[in-house]
């Protein structure tokens, strides 16, 4: 009975957070709590895997909690068990990393109680089977993560992050609440099975779709609802940022799939257009934000937005194909999306662990202050390099496989009868390609500036390799990324049941194809074999090395850098992150970010240095959020006058209320 077991584990997590509160500032607390959470998430992970692979029937259970006349319903079906795997794989890695990384924490008593609660919240969302339990867990998840964001509450920007975060979170929750209100109807059929049974009117369904996109999209970081994400994710301790960015956004994806694909009933084709457009926009905007950002963790957060966009494109394709009854294509698209969910979870956790290691070693999040870390922290550098290659969707790593699948799905778009989709889908494909290329640029930038070159500051020069646990966690994740990249067939087959559960069918089994390559539709159409590509690259590289080293010279001399004849020991002459992004900023920035460069040249003979200052505007914030905040402030100011009236004025308010009501009564009927 996996469901009961999982619920027990979750209860254990909740108990843990209570324990954490009680043992306050003990030094033993950190390893104990993280160790226990690690154990629990491993248990949950295995439970999810078992249920996913042995293809057993969905199992539900109802606790006498929550809404009394419905009870708190929980259910594990392939979809939720897949996300159970996602959540708890990330959670296990983060907990393991936390055992070591948590030692650097200066205020553990502000982190430890919330951490297990956060894990519990995410697991509960995935298992919930009625609207109330779902939303309760959803908001509880946000609340716990808010606590984690506020852990380092002394920096004012963290406080701001927490504020924006929780506000956006409850905004999203309200959107979902309204959606469920529509789905459940006036007399409150909140149980998911009831909702499944009832099919809302087309208009209502469309409304629900939009509300879900707003609600879950704001949690996933869909443009233009992403503003909180780059603030909040970096504010938390790094292994928690990994959870928020790598896992919590996936929980939001789960919500979208659960509601739109499972609860909402048959889709309409134009829904696909909405989702596709949002996804494409998020992908490009996200990566551009990332390119112009210098804060290591914020870059990663922005890149999360990009990948979320990528996933949403997959979902949009699935919706479109499904609405037009192309089962195979829909299944392919959804599989691609879920595969990318898995990949991004691995990669983003890995990268955030890496940023945490760098932060711990140098106390710096700003790339401009780093450099040359590959010498000081080789293991971290290796792992992060793997992460960078992976998230740039380059073979033979895992993200390429999912990207490739998505493109294959896009290439099936000509079947679609609607012109809107016919024309939109390839355009979105172009956007995806663009975002992938830009992502590569972005991660070349990160790794090149932070890890390569020469140390730009003293902290970077004296950085020390991070602790054992973090290293193991990072390298383990990197290994998983490579594995998933060269053996994508197995992952796809593992995803199969989840897709089956939602779509009614799944992709042909890949792991039995000859040479372990993947063939989404037909051999003649397209195929990819990560394993062979990997082996070929490895072979030819080693061949080249061996050949040259045996037949020709293998001697190397060390010498000062040549640099076209201008050797300068000063590391300040290195290319900076800003200058690295400059060409791309010139191409894309001026339009989307109103990027503006200002050069102050000193007069001839003046010894003052010339200065180049770049100003970027977050268009979304300027256009959407600033006016909103302004409006609320304005209204508050105007209404505030009512606090300062005289009694006579208050009396006249009462008087007018009375007279108006009487007038209404006199005029009525």
């Amino acid at each position: 009975m996996p469901i009961v077991f999982s619920l027990d584990c979750i209860a254990l997590l909740l108990a843990l957070s209570v324990v954490a509160m009680s043992l306050e500032r003990r030094s033993a607390a950190t390893p104990v709590i993280y160790g226990a959470s690690l154990l629990t998430s491993v248990l949950l992970l295995s439970a999810g895997l078992l249920h996913l692979l042995d293809g057993s029937a969905p199992a539900g259970s109802t606790l006498p909690l929550g809404l009394p006349w419905i009870g708190a319903r929980f259910r594990v079906d392939p979809l939720s068990s897949f996300f159970l795997v996602i959540v708890n794989l990330g959670a296990a890695a983060a907990s393991f990393c936390g055992i070591g990384h948590g030692r650097h924490e200066q205020a553990p008593q502000r982190v430890l109680p919330f951490y297990p609660a956060f894990l519990a919240g995410m697991n509960l969302v995935v298992l919930a089977d009625d609207a109330f339990t779902f939303l309760l867990s959803w908001e509880f998840m946000s609340l716990a993560s808010w606590g984690l964001v506020m852990a380092h509450h002394h920096q004012p920007e963290n406080a701001r992050a927490g504020y924006v975060y929780l506000l956006m979170a409850s905004f999203g929750t309200f959107a979902l609440l309204l959606a469920f209100g529509l789905l459940a109807g006036p007399n409150g059929g909140y149980a998911f099975e009831t909702i499944r049974a009832s099919h809302p009117a087309p208009l209502f369904a469309a409304l629900v779709l939009l509300l879900v996109l707003v609600g879950a999209g704001s949690k996933a970081g869909l443009v233009p609802l992403h503003v909180w994400l780059p603030l909040a994710h970096p504010a938390a301790p790094s292994h928690v940022s990994a959870l928020m960015s790598g896992v919590m956004t996936k929980v939001a994806i789960y919500a979208v799939i659960r509601i739109i694909f499972d609860l909402l009933g048959p889709p309409v084709w134009w829904w696909g257009i909405v989702v596709l457009a949002l996804g494409g926009a998020s992908a490009v905007m996200g990566v551009l934000y990332a390119l112009f950002e210098n804060d290591l963790k914020r870059v990663l957060a922005y890149s999360t937005i990009e990948n979320i966009g990528f996933i949403f494109v997959g979902l949009g394709l699935a919706i479109a194909f499904r609405a037009d009854g192309f089962e195979v294509a829909a299944v392919l698209a959804l599989t691609a999306a879920l595969f990318h969910v898995f990949n991004h979870m691995l990669l983003k956790s890995l990268l955030f662990f890496g940023s945490g290691a760098v932060l711990g070693a140098t106390g710096e999040r700003n790339m401009e202050a780093l450099g040359g870390l590959i010498h000081r922290m080789p293991a971290t550098a290796l792992a992060v390099l793997a992460g960078c290659v992976g998230i740039s969707a380059l073979p033979p790593f895992n993200a390429f496989a999912s990207e490739w699948l998505t493109f294959q799905a896009i290439l099936l778009s000509p079947q679609l009868p609607q012109w809107g989709l016919k024309l939109l889908v390839p355009a979105v494909g172009a956007l995806l390609a663009l975002s992938v290329a830009l992502a590569a640029a972005c991660f070349v930038r990160i790794f090149g500036i932070a890890f390569l070159g020469r140390a730009r500051t003293e902290q970077a020069r004296t950085a020390r390799e991070t602790d054992r646990f973090s290293r193991v966690a990072m390298l383990g994740m990197a290994a998983l990324c490579l594995l998933a990249g060269i053996l994508p067939g197995f992952v796809i087959d593992a995803i199969g049941p989840a897709v089956q559960g939602v779509m009614g069918s799944h992709m042909p089994s890949q792991s039995r194809v000859a040479w372990l390559s993947i063939i989404p539709i037909a051999q003649s159409r397209s195929s990819y074999n990560g394993l062979l590509v990997f082996i070929f690259i490895a072979l030819s590289a080693t061949m080249a090395v061996l050949a040259i080293h045996t037949l020709a010279s293998r001697k190397t001399r060390r010498a000062p850098i040549w640099d076209c004849g201008y050797p300068d020991a000063n590391p300040a002459i290195q290319y900076t992150a800003g200058s690295f992004a400059q060409p791309i900023r010139r191409v894309f920035g001026t339009l989307l970010f109103r990027a503006h460069e200002e050069i102050t040249m000193p007069l001839p003979g003046d010894m003052a240095p010339a200065r180049l200052s770049v100003t970027l505007h977050d268009v979304v914030w300027d256009v959407l959020y600033a006016p909103l905040a302004g409006a609320v402030g304005f209204a508050a100011d105007r209404l505030n006058i009512l606090q300062f009236l005289t009694i006579r004025r208050y009396l006249s308010l009462v008087f007018f209320a009375l007279v108006t009501l009487l007038l209404v009564l006199a005029i009525w009927r």
Binding site: L645, T646, I647, R648, L658, V659, L663
Partner: protein
């Protein structure tokens, strides 16, 4: 009930409204107080009449309370206060008398309009009395709203309360009328004493309500 009784009741109730209008018209404190005394007298008369025609002896108590307490004690007390506190005698009103009167007429019209919807089978005295009572209440509130000076506001409140008593007595056989009128007298006493209190504490140099809420909770 035979016509005469009805007419007298009607007359008294109507004259109460009239007196309210007179109060609305006053712009001097003493005059206002005197008119209020008149108001109370008329009220006690009408209550007495109700007691007589409905043969409800307990209403006589109410009537006498109205006569003694409202028509004599309170006005005298307020008189003394005005002298003692040296409140200047003009009442600064919000709007000039003319519009205020118009508003008052509008209110009476409103109350009639509202009450005319009452199905006729409710007995007529009740119906009329309620209409008048409602207009007295509204006029009293209007006085409170349009006067800037605490004493006149208190007077307005008291006339409002007279309207209530009128309604209460108009309702045939309504229990607790006496208790209610007593309770209200207590309330009014409280208000008057309240004004005294502020004076005695020497916190406020005038009892103008605006001075009272000089602080207005949160200082700006």
């Amino acid at each position: 009930m035979h016509g005469l009784a009805f007419d007298v009741a009607h007359l008294l109730a109507g004259s109460l409204v009239l007196v309210s209008f007179m109060m609305l018209y006053q712009d001097r404190l003493y005059a206002l107080l005197n008119t209020y005394a008149l108001h109370a007298v008329v009220l006690s008369l009408s209550v007495g009449w109700q007691a007589y025609i409905n043969a409800a002896p307990h209403l006589y108590i109410t009537a006498s309370i109205a006569l003694l307490f409202k028509a004599i004690i309170i006005p005298l007390a307020l008189h003394r206060m005005i002298v003692r506190l040296g409140i200047h005698r003009e009442i600064e009103t919000v709007a000039s008398i003319g519009p205020t009167m118009l508003a008052g007429i509008g209110l009476v019209g409103l109350s009639l309009a509202v009450m005319l919807r009452v199905t006729a089978d409710a007995d007529l005295v009740a119906r009329e009395d309620i209409a008048f009572a409602l207009s007295v209440v509204l006029l009293g509130l209007l006085i409170m709203v349009t006067r800037r000076n605490a004493v006149s506001q208190v007077v307005g409140f008291m006339s409002l309360e007279n309207g209530l008593v009128l309604a209460a007595t108009g309702a045939k056989g309504m229990p607790l009328v006496v208790e209610i009128s007593v309770a209200f007298s207590v309330l009014i006493a409280f208000i008057v004493i309240g004004i005294f209190l502020f004076r005695i504490r020497e916190r406020f140099d005038t009892v103008d309500v605006q001075a009272l809420d000089r602080f207005r909770g949160e200082r700006r």
